[in-house]
């Protein structure tokens, strides 16, 4: 009898602990730390946010870890960028986690790119084009306008899953929007110095940034998205960059930067490694901080004298 009582008490304590935790916080799991940063800003004390990957990780080639599976199985809300950015790893994790609340179409599944007008939507869906994203370029987290869009989607997602917190979420979102106003003004000022600057990029991840700043992307080091360059492609790219007097080659930490250096060497362009996710570089601890870093590094690189070829 005593043992039965003890077991009952333990079960009740466990149930209470689980229930009280669930009542306290909305458990939000995001793919990117960018989304986690914005979710924390809007969710405040009402949410407990976990990002599945770190900012330094190549989000095209994520290695699944047990903690990801556990986090997804316990989550109330899942937030992804979408546009197939996470398609090589997140759907498999979601399938294994078997959390019905996070199924596409359910309120717990928040797709950050919903309503976003994507660039580079392929006219021809064929692997002749490389590792194409069928719905268009997914790197909207690197657009100066991306934070505002993602914040709106996350706000809607949090309200849908926790209607009682609507007022708190809307208040935090409004405060974040004010910060975004100030940040966007800074980035517009920086864009004045970047407009018309010819660059190459390793991967097609800075297209939205280029559109907003007026940077001209002459070409990409990759032959096609996800496909490494051939020697002939490098020759063609170098010719094009020389013709346009390209100043910069933009890249990320996970790119094949040996080939980036080779292109820069042959063109006299300067290599600029940009943070491509929150926490991927010093000073990029928040989404706004990351975009500040991106603009600052570009402006700084342009201020440097051209490299001799």
């Amino acid at each position: 009898m005593q043992l039965q009582r003890l077991l009952r008490a333990l079960a009740a304590a466990c149930a209470l602990a689980v229930a009280s935790h669930a009542a306290d916080k909305l458990r939000v799991v995001t793919t990117l730390p960018d989304l986690a940063d914005i979710a924390r800003r809007i969710g405040g004390e009402r949410v407990e946010v976990t990002a599945l990957i770190k900012g330094t990780e190549n989000l095209h080639a994520v290695v699944a870890k047990p903690s990801m599976l556990v986090a997804l199985s316990r989550a109330d809300v899942y937030v992804q960028v979408g546009l197939s950015l996470e398609s090589s790893w997140a759907p498999g994790l979601l399938e294994s986690a078997r959390n019905a609340a996070l199924a596409p179409g359910k309120p717990g599944f928040v797709n950050g790119s919903d309503g976003w007008e994507a660039l580079d939507v392929p006219a021809d869906l064929s692997r002749k084009g490389g590792d194409l994203h069928p719905q268009g370029n997914p790197h909207l987290n690197l657009s100066p306008r991306g934070g505002r869009h993602l914040a709106a989607r996350i706000l809607a997602g949090l309200v849908a899953n926790d209607p009682a917190g609507r007022a708190a979420y809307e208040k935090a979102h409004a405060a974040y929007a004010v910060e975004l106003d100030a940040a966007e003004a800074r980035w517009k000022e920086a864009a004045q110095k970047l407009r018309g600057v010819a660059v190459a990029t390793y991967h097609q991840e800075f297209e939205y940034l280029a559109r907003e700043t007026g940077i001209e992307i002459v070409g990409h080091v990759e032959l096609k998205p996800g496909v490494p360059p051939t020697p002939a492609h490098i020759v063609e790219l170098v010719d094009a960059l020389r013709a346009k007097q390209a100043r910069l080659v933009l890249t990320a930490a996970w790119s094949n930067n040996r080939q980036v250096a080779q292109v820069a060497e042959q063109t006299g362009a300067r290599v600029v490694e940009l943070p491509v996710a929150v926490s991927s570089a010093k000073g990029a601890d928040t989404w706004i901080g990351m975009m500040d870093q991106i603009h600052a590094r570009l402006v700084d690189a342009l201020a440097q004298p051209p490299r001799p070829r």
Partner: protein, 405 residues
């Protein structure tokens, strides 16, 4: 034909109502005919509809080998080792199904055809049909998906080059803390004899078509997957495959029946990945024991060299073996590794066999892969040699198997 069909099959078939399975019926229906799409409340497809077609894939696995092994013909061999057609689709809100048809030089075979039912709640999955068994780290995978060109020698010898069974498997996982998961599965199958080439004059394993419950084949696996520091993962597991009742046969009709054997395995795998997910190091070990009546030799009784009166000499005992590997990827496209496999063969005298593999893999794109391999064979019975291979694998379309971690 009808008379030869078992009675219970006939009874079952004759009582199945003609419901569902749309898009198979006649264009114009009369009562009692198979129901076509739209013929009841739920049909949404017609025989010419493509909206609900499954994901389709085709894998080309080409191999060029040059071998110089004692007792075998030396030389170059170019072959399309396999073409693999895959179909996958959700079939209702709680189940998805897939089929894998493999075309080889000798045959066309349904290697897998199964339904995964996910509606049991939690992380439970019930799989039914024909599928590769859950044993260790490799046996769920088809050959074209391996890290090496061939499966390790110990797995080929104890379980078969590929091991599919017709049956049912229950699978579940639980979280242990925030960074560890534990998964287990149990399966019951009609037959669990691995794929192996039948050679004249060599005993081959066979299974009865009708069995009692205690004669079915069984599998079980328990595995835990955890994180080690910021960049590492560690997985360990234990697996078993039991054959409670099977037989060996010879071409001359000689047989040994009522045999049983069990293969046990333990595995340990460590993975490390750098902060950008680019450089990766993986190392692992799997140790197997094959116990019971696990092999048979030909006993050349009666007239010497006359196979018609040969009998079988069953090997009854425990043999063991392992494979260990380490591979390193220094970019998203390039990796190289080394693997060593050693085993005792379940034959008279338990001779040993060892294979050392060196391999380099070059990813051409998301769908294409080129691999170079060099295998050194060291057999106690004297069949030593070397095999060099070039493998080209290409995946056309959306491809996947129901492989679990």
């Amino acid at each position: 034909m009808l008379r030869s069909r078992p009675l219970h099959v006939f009874l079952f078939a004759s009582t199945v109502p003609p419901l569902a399975l749309h898009a198979q019926g006649a264009p114009f229906q009369t009562p009692g005919m198979p129901v076509v799409a739209g013929g009841d409340a739920s049909g949404q497809t017609t025989r010419f509809s493509s909206e609900f077609n499954p994901a389709i894939s085709f894998v080309l696995d080409g191999l060029a080998t040059w071998e110089d092994v004692d007792g075998s013909d030396s030389g170059l061999d170019l072959e399309l080792r396999a073409g693999e057609l895959g179909l996958t689709a959700w079939v209702d809100p709680r189940a998805w199904a897939y089929g894998i048809v493999v075309f080889t030089e000798d045959e066309v075979a349904l290697e897998e055809g199964a339904v995964q039912f996910t509606g049991l709640g939690g992380h439970r999955v019930l799989r039914a049909g024909r599928f590769f068994v859950d044993f260790g780290k490799q046996m769920q995978a088809h050959e074209h998906e391996l890290r090496t060109i061939e499966r390790p020698a110990v797995l080929r010898a104890y379980l078969g080059a590929e091991l599919a069974g017709d049956g049912v498997q229950f699978d579940d996982w639980h979280a242990l803390g925030d960074a560890t998961v534990m998964r287990y599965s149990v399966g019951v199958f009609q037959s669990l004899l691995g794929e192996s080439e039948e050679e004249d004059g060599v005993p081959h394993a066979v299974d009865a078509e009708q069995k009692d419950l205690d004669e079915l084949g069984y599998t079980a696996r328990l595995t835990a997957f955890t994180e080690v520091g910021d960049a590492g993962t560690l997985q360990f597991g234990a697996s078993a495959r039991a054959l409670p009742d099977y037989a060996f046969e010879l071409d001359n009709g000689a047989s040994a029946t009522g045999l049983s054997s069990t293969v046990w395995g333990v595995d340990l795998t460590y993975g490390w990945v750098d902060a950008t997910n680019t450089r990766r190091f993986t190392t692992g070990l799997e140790w197997l024991f094959d116990t019971g009546e696990n092999g048979a030799d030909v006993d050349d009784q009666g007239t010497p060299l006359d196979p018609s009166d040969d009998t079988l000499d069953v090997h009854d005992g425990t043999v063991g073996g392992y494979y260990a590997f380490a591979d390193y990827a220094w970019s998203a496209q390039r990796s190289a590794g080394i693997q060593h496999s050693w085993l005792e063969l379940p034959e008279a005298g338990e001779p040993t066999l060892a294979e050392l593999d060196l391999y380099y893999t070059h990813g051409l794109s998301e769908y294409g892969r080129l691999r170079v391999g060099l295998t050194f064979v060291d057999a106690e019975d004297g069949a030593d040699g070397v095999v060099a291979a070039l493998q080209y694998t290409n995946v056309i379309g959306a491809h996947g198997h129901a492989v679990n971690f």
